[in-house]
């Protein structure tokens, strides 16, 4: 993409080809042309990504409690184990379990979970996970999201 048009000291303007970013940007977005015009579409099989997982669960609470407990209030540094490792674990378990007591608003997508790390590392992880979650299905990508987005027609 483009170089920032002005200097950004605090803002991260790095363009990203991380899969998680791309998935979040384009999946389920854009014009569905056969809604607007009659076109003989060729039905090519589209691999789908089922990216939704549930974060809020007893597991999550426990992990957050752990992160909070490990926080060293005496120091200002960031030496606690923190959430990145935590988030990975949540993700591992979150996908399979749909624990009761989910908090509203903290359901999540794989892409959202991973996007914190702008590094290639995140990208690779994402790639693997996406692959793992990928499965074949109908002729439209289905990317279930926790959030409802208004869509015309």
């Amino acid at each position: 993409m483009t170089v920032a048009s002005q200097q950004s000291q605090y803002l991260d303007r790095a363009s990203s080809s991380a899969l998680v970013d791309v998935v979040d940007l384009i999946l389920d977005k854009g014009l569905v042309i056969d809604v607007y015009v009659r076109v003989s579409l060729v039905g090519i099989e589209i691999l789908t990504i089922d990216a939704r997982i549930v974060v809020a669960s007893v597991d999550t609470y426990l992990r957050f409690a752990e992160a909070t407990n490990r926080l060293d209030l005496a120091r200002s540094g960031t030496e606690t184990k923190g959430l990145p490792g935590l988030m990975d674990e949540i993700q591992e378990s979150g996908g399979r379990k749909k624990t009761k007591g989910a908090l509203e608003g903290v359901k999540d997508t794989v892409s959202d979970l991973l996007q914190g790390d702008e590094s290639d590392e995140a990208e690779d992880e994402a790639g693997e996970r996406e692959e793992a979650r990928r499965r074949e299905s109908g002729d439209r990508p289905r990317h279930r999201r926790s959030s409802s987005r208004e869509r015309e027609r």
């Binding site: 609470y61 409690a65 923190g82 903290v106 996007q115």
Partner: protein, 260 residues
């Protein structure tokens, strides 16, 4: 174009005057060696490439290629009408005789509405330790639970742990609601439209897309930079763009909506 076993992948529609310089060699969906080209008809051009029909689409590289082509066009200039990933038609004749002919008026309206405008997408996340510290400062109950748990073995204090974790997540959710409004309050005035999605991960603050006019772009970017400065150390903010207007193209196509 499109011989046996090949079809025509369509990325989107632009105006006829655009060149394919920016996209020709970017790598196409489904076939990295295929050229991305423009097929022109009636003042408009479809951005297309050849694609093999015998293998499914949707690998990470396919998704990247789709976005790369559209965003490269958007980076040069607007308008760009992005199609949904996976749009494939028979051949270039179908592109001109069906897609561009039939869709001409709808596309023209959307192109008109999106001229001089592009999408910027902002991703904000809390810095984990910083937000946990805030929560502990603001929630005496969290501090109490934390103290109760200090020194307890893993097995003990299960209920308190659950309680603490839930309390922390609730507190972060409350911050999110306030901070997401602040994002919109600061950036919204510089944009024509915005869409934000529900808080992302447990430490996500907001994902928001803005439709920004070229003339307002600098002001918009400045506002984002100021916010990133204000929240430095507390919230990480990334700003992607200019991008193709993935989140706004459907509205632009809608005949019922008046353009600004």
């Amino acid at each position: 174009m499109a011989e046996e076993g090949r079809a025509c992948y369509v990325y989107g529609v632009v105006t006829e005057d655009r060149s394919d310089d920016a996209v020709r060699d970017l790598g196409a969906v489904g076939d990295p060696d295929a050229a991305v080209t423009l097929v022109r008809h009636g003042g408009q051009a479809a951005v297309v490439s050849e694609v093999p029909v015998d293998k499914p689409l949707g690998t990470p590289e396919d998704l990247r290629a789709h976005a790369r082509v559209l965003d490269s066009l958007a980076a040069r200039s607007s308008p760009v009408l992005p199609f949904r990933f996976g749009t494939v038609v028979r051949d270039t004749t179908a592109v001109t005789d069906e897609l561009l002919s039939e869709g001409h008026d709808d596309f023209a309206r959307a192109l008109d509405r999106l001229r001089g405008r592009s999408q910027f997408t902002l991703r904000a996340r809390y810095v984990q330790d910083a937000v946990l510290r805030e929560v502990l400062t603001e929630q005496p109950d969290a501090v109490r639970l934390r103290e109760e748990l200090q020194g307890l073995p893993e097995e003990a204090g299960y209920d308190q742990r659950i309680q603490l974790g839930q309390l922390v997540m609730d507190a972060i959710a409350a911050k999110r609601a306030v901070d997401a409004l602040e994002v919109d309050r600061r950036l919204g005035p510089h944009a024509l439209a915005s869409v934000s999605t529900e808080p992302s991960s447990a430490e996500g603050l907001v994902n928001a897309s803005f439709l920004v006019e070229d003339e307002r772009r600098t002001a918009f970017e400045q506002a984002a930079e100021e916010l990133a400065k204000l929240w430095n150390g507390r919230v990480r903010i990334r700003l992607l763009g200019p991008l193709a207007p993935y989140d706004f193209v459907a509205d632009a196509m809608n005949p019922a909506k008046e353009g600004e």
